[in-house]
């Protein structure tokens, strides 16, 4: 806070003039440092509309150190002349009839504030001799504000319990807040954006009446991951290049024997209305443990379990969990990702039902325009790729896969003939990357995550 005496003096000066005052002039006339006046102006400005002040700048000429010396004692030449002793007068001195110290005169003019009497050329010459310098002065043009008053009250910064108790807040003026500044960040934890999206997908499935499947088994046998899904043993997905196999525990050792026999038969000989693949099905391949390549392995276990019920009951299942692929990694592919899967089993479900339910599901994600492309998948027939129209890219982009499970998968499990099972799947990472504008998957998933991104990520509303 500026010196109150000075503030009051300034206010009285402003009161007396009709137009306004220059802070520089006030400083000169009061004989105080200009910075003190600037301080007084700023503290008055902080009080609201007591005064208004416009910043302006002016240029003027000032003597340099050497210039001051000359103004005081005369130019170097004049000083030489005046220092000649009276006894002698060498020849050179005769040249000087009357000594006029023009340099000093000019500098004195400047010192008196009458620099305007000098010509530009003269000033520049003195500047070159480093006797003068041109300085820019910033000052305020001070005028009365809308709430002008010569008496000022001290402003309070914050409301206190005492003010509330005594009611003194009613008389006090409060310093205005700076609403341009940011607030203080709350000291809190944050949820991971991918998990926020997972929560929303979970919510959507629950809203649609789907029950969550137990997918907490990353290690799966090839039997449940492939064979039970009617995926032949020579299928490229079962290659070392695509799937992580386990060396310990290398093999699964327990299967429902009669079901396993039906699976062997439908692969190698056909049956249930199928030609089969007609190859030599080997139990050794089915026993191999792997890191599951899809959560559909769990769907197979669940459907088998359902088939063992005394009486079939319709079900709607979902899961969102990790799956693993021994793939080449890049900006959008990792060796592990989350698969979202939905499954409905009931009598008489149609392909139209599958498209209808997909429509409802994607509607909840804010995706309304869908179309379906025929595709191939070893365990679904028909198989459909789901495309949605991307307004930004102005084209159709693939958003998921879907289909009806093949009878060769369902009938060996023991499900009744008329039961149809429809299913669809998509990855959790892709919609999350789109939602949060992330281009490199490593910034989202894994230890290389950018925690600042986690701290800053907004809430997840998939439909907006």
């Amino acid at each position: 806070m500026a010196d109150t005496g000075l503030v009051e003096t300034l206010l009285r000066r402003v009161e007396k003039v009709d137009g306004g005052l220059d802070s520089q002039d006030v400083a000169t006339s009061l004989g105080v440092d200009h910075q003190a006046i600037v301080g007084a102006v700023k503290s008055l400005l902080a009080l609201g509309d007591v005064i208004s002040a416009d910043q302006r700048s002016s240029k003027h000429w000032e003597l340099t150190g050497e210039g001051c010396e000359i103004a005081e004692q005369g130019s170097h030449e004049a000083r030489v002349v005046s220092s000649i002793p009276e006894e002698g007068m060498p020849q050179s001195q005769l040249m000087v009839e009357h000594l006029e110290d023009l340099v000093r005169d000019k500098l004195l003019l400047v010192q008196k504030g009458q620099a305007s009497q000098l010509e530009e050329k003269e000033k520049n010459e003195l500047k070159k001799r480093k006797l003068l310098s041109e300085v820019t002065v910033k000052s305020y043009w001070i005028t009365k504000g809308s709430c002008f008053s010569t008496t000022i009250t001290k402003q309070e910064t914050e409301l206190t319990p005492e003010m509330i108790a005594s009611g003194s807040w009613k008389e006090k003026k409060f310093k205005p807040y700076n609403f341009e500044a940011l607030g203080v960040a709350p000291d809190c934890g944050h949820l991971h954006p991918l998990m926020k999206v997972r929560t929303q997908f979970r919510q959507i499935f629950l809203e649609m009446g789907f029950t969550e499947m137990p997918t907490n088994n990353f290690i799966e046998s090839s039997f449940w991951n492939f064979d039970s899904l009617f995926q032949p043993q020579q299928h490229p997905a079962r290659d070392q290049h695509d799937t992580f196999f386990l060396s310990d525990p290398a093999q699964a050792h327990e299967f429902p024997q009669d079901y396993l026999e039906r699976v062997r038969k439908v692969h190698s000989e056909g049956g249930f209305g199928s030609q089969g693949y007609k190859y030599d099905w080997k139990i050794e391949e089915a026993q191999k443990n792997i890191l599951r390549t899809h959560t559909t392995a769990v769907s197979a276990r669940m459907l088998y379990k359902l088939a063992q019920q005394e009486k079939f009951t319709p079900v709607k299942y979902f899961s969102i969990d990790r799956v693993f692929r021994n793939e080449t990694l890049d900006a959008t592919h990792l060796a592990e990702f989350h698969q979202i899967e939905g499954v409905v089993a009931d009598y008489g479900l149609t392909l139209g039902d599958l498209m209808g339910i997909l429509h409802q599901f994607f509607n909840k994600l804010g995706i309304t325009k869908l179309r379906f492309k025929p595709a191939y998948n070893p365990y679904t027939e028909p198989s459909m790729e789901v495309f949605s129209y991307h307004e930004g890219l102005k084209k159709w982009v693939e958003v998921g896969n879907s289909g009806m499970f093949r009878p060769e998968m369902l009938l060996p499990m023991g499900l009744p003939e008329g039961v149809t099972v429809i299913a669809w799947g998509l990855s959790l990472e892709r919609p999350t990357m789109i939602k949060y504008g992330i281009n490199n998957i490593r910034e989202l998933v894994g230890h290389k995550v950018n925690l600042q991104m986690v701290y800053d990520s907004p809430v997840c509303r998939l439909d907006s």
């Binding site: 629950l206 137990p214 327990e254 479900l349 139209g352």
Partner: protein, 589 residues
Amino acid sequence: MPTVSVKRDLLFHALGRTYTDEEFDELCFEFGLELDEITSEKDIISREQGDTKAEGASDVILYKIDVPANRYDLLCLEGLVRGLQVFKQKMEAPRYRRVSPASSEPQRLVITEETTAVRPHAVAAVLRNITFTQERYDSFIELQEKLHQNVCRKRTLVAIGTHDLDTISGPFTYTAKPPGDIRFKPLNQAKEYTAQELMSLYKTDSHLRHYLHIIEDEAVYPVIYDSNGIVLSMPPIINGDHSKISLNTKNVFIECTATDLTKAKIVLDMMVTMFCEYCEEPFTVEEAEVVYPDGRTCQYPELAYRKETLSADFINRKVGISESTEHIAQLLTKMCLRSEVMSDGEQIEVEIPPTRSDVIHACDIMEDAAMAYGFNNIPRTTPRTYTIANQLPLNKLSELLRQDLAAAGFTEALTFALCSQEDIADKLLKNISETRACRISNPKTAEFQVARTTLLSGLLKTVAANRKMPLPLRLFEISDVVLKDESKDVGARNNRRLCAVYYNKSPGFEVIHGLMDRVMQLLEIKPGQGNGYHIQAADDSTFFPGRCAEIFACGKSIGRLGVLHPDVINRFELTMPCSALDIDIEHFL
């Protein structure tokens, strides 16, 4: 999904009309194909090797089309055109016929006993009086390559050899011999090599080296000779130079050797059905006789037409449409499945041609009807399946705890379930044998050696990757680790854990302890012995001596907390003290 590259103008010429790129893309979409890319040889070379290399290359427009993995009949221009023309009802699906040679005995391929150990099956056929042009020839070679990569599973299941029949004379012998005893001039080489020499010659061949492993370690290698001892091929590696086909070849002998007979028959059917349209008598294939070691003989190609009967009602019910039997029969015919309405007016007899090996069940026929109807024309309906949703209790608990841990000031991390052995053992000052870790047999890098047995290493790696962030760092994760467990069918199980770390200039044991107290409060467990929770000093090599405690809840040990050992801090490339909490939340279900 295989990609087939065809010249656009050639394709349009064969289709009898031109399309805009958008129109053709739309047609592909309907038919279950995908127009993946529009390019030219010049574009491809300049993208892969730079503009200078591309100079002078052809700028004929190429369409790259993605074909479903089970549609081997669409892997070449000939097949694509036939499929699309029948679909657009511009032509009827051709009928492929196996014929006997006009004036002589059929070609014979005799399989000897020796092949049993290495590659026991072989089939063969003849394309008689065929006319190649440069385009047809290129397509013929390209189809072999596509089949090799797909249905043949990189030649492991089936290998195709094609030969100029006029340069060789039957009967042919398919046998297997020690590599040192096989000697011939292979395709496009100037001199003869033994099989052994060939294997080392092709070690550096960018294309062939991928197939060497199929027979490399066998005692005998498969080989086909003609009656004069000329080598036709040494499957699945290379053909002989002597019998190679050219633009002028009139008669082609095709042999397929295999470890899977079903696939061999499919591959042979594909080769002949796709190219017999260029024979003097189109769509006929001359049979060849295969003689088995036991004296049995078989005629190939099979070119089998199979009949299936199904009802219109079945298709209507599965698809969710109500079309007349006649219309459904028409739809199926459009998909190269010639169909007729039977006398009862309800059943449809469907004929599956040899080109459609993908049709193995009535559901495959149903899909074709749905495709021909147009997936996007099917009314979208809501199933009436009424069910009540249930959350998995373990996931429900995890979700609730996550929310409250974030509210307690900790930030959620999401780390990998796979990691290196070092991460879960050495770096945590533990011996790998005490971790019960499941081990991966084929990791491409050390990052995927084991499934994690703790969440701690992932959290510490997350801290290390975020050292520039302001302190303190408070992180948590609730997720699964994997442990070996003999009682499970696969010998392993997941275990849901809650792990948290506090990383700051001071260890902050009291912070992590406070978090543990909060978790117990959330789980409605009070401090105390018996049914409550308490902690007691424990020894754990991961933690600083005297700064680790074991957590007991309801009488059971559920995890640990403490200040990490300075060596652990160092091994994770960290510099500040750190305290950690690790508990098994499955006890609280």
